[in-house]
Symmetry: none
């Protein structure tokens, strides 16, 4: 199956000058992709009629659907109608029904120039149909192009959204609602995930995949490329088998959500002792609604004094082995477990950098402690990256340690 | 003055399919605009070599600077090098110095295919210069084009940023650093900031401004629109006077950085007791390198048991007033201050939602406690938004409370 192609254009110099983050493109791209369109490219163009007209002419000649947002308002910066008119060689005509719709808005203005500006929004490309606004004043419109349809929507998300919804349900619904399976993995690199998924999917034609990685988190997205729902499930199963316990979710939930859900299911309570992650692990757990049913609390023991006073790490251990050591990590975990009365506690202590490293204990060295009813254990990791990356990856390892202990993996 | 033109291309099907929000474009656009470039358009292209090659050929023929991010990794989806090679008709050559740089990364892999994948990142366009990675493994590169320069940067923001910084300072600095003053504010809404800045700037022609807001943080950017440096300073001063103690920085530093710097300067130590923010305040403080010189630690007292055991909040207070109350907030702050031996401690306890609200204590109600050598105080806020927004805004208020206490505001 070849999917119809689409493209998205957002208009406004505030986007090309980096003064505003464009969130419309992602929303529209997701709506079109899941409706079965193949979005080939997206663009943002400043307030330059000629450049926008060129972009629209090029995309309209190729793609079955071109969706434009922004530049439909009343001011001189609002160039989208003119650019579309040039691109498609269709004149702009003032639509009587839109003039009527906009009259209340013109009455807010005293001078004729401002009233005339408001009425620019009543201009339709010859042959276009109106998409009536639910909110705001700027109407949308759509018109035939050499390759399909050009759609103009207003830029404010609250005005754009209801029109986008009409677009993918009524006006240009797309061939199918595409299926996606999302697998969350932890404890392997992006290229590891790529290699393993490629191998696991070699026997699953018609399933495409992409790997999305951020520090401490890898997601494998399986996309239906013609194989159908059941084949997609089989492919997800194959990848899950290949990656084993590294897969923490198959439903789009986060690692922290997986930890919270499995701990609640098993009636296990959790505690934390954090040094180099400085509260990041606790923040990720408590980001999950309902986490209070399993997470009792944690100690951010940034100073040695806090490790001693709040977690009972002995001054001798700190003096002899240092704050970044197996011994300190285990005493931190045991201390948090006792102080909080938790079933399981994990401790993190390491050198996040940029300073504080030594030949013995370089930046990136992180010790993890685990305390349970059966005792304490520890392990270390050498984590690559800058301060932020070391902290995020160490937090993911701590969450994964909780998950594996809860699930008995 | 005609500014040199620029364009930005981000690569990846996760962007055109709407699976990820592109934040690189805004960052790069801002850096280029403020360096004196005129960014005409930006584009995102999926993992299609031909389409990307077409886009790069078109932009490279027109713009003095074309910056591409993403698609430089090791996997088969990483097509940027090949597309640039086609667009500019320059072959790809394996650079020996990059092979050497990447060898440690190949050793993590056992099979030859994964090792070979890693080494794809050693490929340079003929005639290109390398931009060495500070973090991660993917090197950047830049090469001459018909109209100027094509620059390839890795997609992960942490890897892209240091290279972008080198780009606008050394490699292609742009004709002028357009002047910008950035004022960080806390404790007011985006539209408040808009209204107050408009009033403050009415007597400052030639200075444009824009307000960038995210939950718990508002930035006012003043842009030189012909007025010159001294007028820009005067305008910044006028806005600072109008907003007073709400301005926490005038040099682009974050609220947490402002807290850490001012506390270190004054030799004041800080402690925390967090309930609904669950470690977010500690995570933001410890994100600042060197924060260990002032931040001793904190307690994430998510359960009532933890508030009692670690902070000494009395069971009577919890029973009579509840966990979300002035009394509990003050006892939490006092308990943290004592346990940690800190000069100042702030406590946060509230209803983040989505559940847990009551007519008496609705979702969004947050109590803050402050303990210092002179005693304890408390105040509450009704914070709008969903769970994530309530937590982030409450964390900002806690940081602002520390800042004001440290500075005596």
């Amino acid at each position: 199956m070849t999917r119809p192609t689409a493209s998205i254009v957002t208009v406004g110099s505030e986007l090309t000058e980096g003064l505003r983050l464009d969130t419309n493109t992602r929303e529209i791209a997701f709506a079109l992709s899941t409706s079965g369109y193949h979005v080939l490219e997206t663009a943002s163009v400043g307030d330059h009629t000629e450049i926008l007209a060129d972009v629209l002419a090029r995309l309209s000649a190729r793609d079955a659907l071109v969706v434009v947002t922004g530049g439909l308002g009343p001011t001189h910066d609002d160039i989208t109608r003119e650019a579309a008119s040039q691109a498609l060689r269709r004149p702009l005509l003032r639509a009587p029904e839109l003039v009527e719709l906009l009259l209340p808005a013109t009455r807010r203005h005293s001078d004729e120039r401002a009233m005339e500006q408001v009425l620019r929004q009543a201009e339709l490309l010859e042959g276009a149909d109106v998409i009536l606004p639910v909110t705001g004043t700027a109407p949308g419109q759509f018109v035939a192009t050499p390759a399909g349809l050009l759609v103009l929507l207003p830029g404010p998300p609250a005005e754009m959204r209801p029109m986008l919804s009409r677009l993918v349900t009524d006006i240009a619904p797309g061939p199918s609602r595409a299926s996606v399976r999302e697998l969350g993995c932890v404890g392997l690199t992006e290229s590891d995930a790529q290699v393993r998924a490629t191998a696991a999917l070699s026997a699953h034609p018609g399933v495409a995949f992409t790997v999305l990685a951020s520090p401490g988190d890898v997601h494998i997205l399986l996309l239906d490329d013609g194989a159908g729902e059941r084949a997609l499930d089989a492919a997800a199963e194959a990848v899950t088998v290949a990656l084993g316990a590294r897969i923490y979710s198959t439903d789009g939930s986060t690692l922290a959500e997986a930890v919270v859900r499995s701990a609640i299911e098993r009636g296990i309570t959790l505690g934390l002792a954090e040094s180099c992650t400085g509260g990041l692990v606790a923040a990720r757990l408590t980001d999950v609604p309902g986490s209070s049913a399993t997470f009792l609390g944690g100690v951010v023991a940034y100073s040695n004094g806090a490790k001693f006073a709040l977690l009972g790490v002995s001054t001798e251990t700190l003096a002899r082995h240092g704050a970044v050591s197996a011994e300190t990590a285990e005493e931190m975990a045991a201390g948090a477990r006792t102080a909080l009365g938790a079933d399981i506690a994990v401790a993190v202590t390491g050198v996040a950098g940029p300073s504080g490293g030594s030949p013995d204990k370089p930046v990136g060295l992180v010790w993890f402690g685990l305390a349970t009813a059966s005792g304490t254990t520890s392990f270390s990791r050498g984590i690559p990256g800058d301060r932020a990356a070391v902290r995020i990856r160490a937090a993911s390892t701590a969450l994964d340690t909780l998950r594996r202990e809860v699930l008995g993996l």
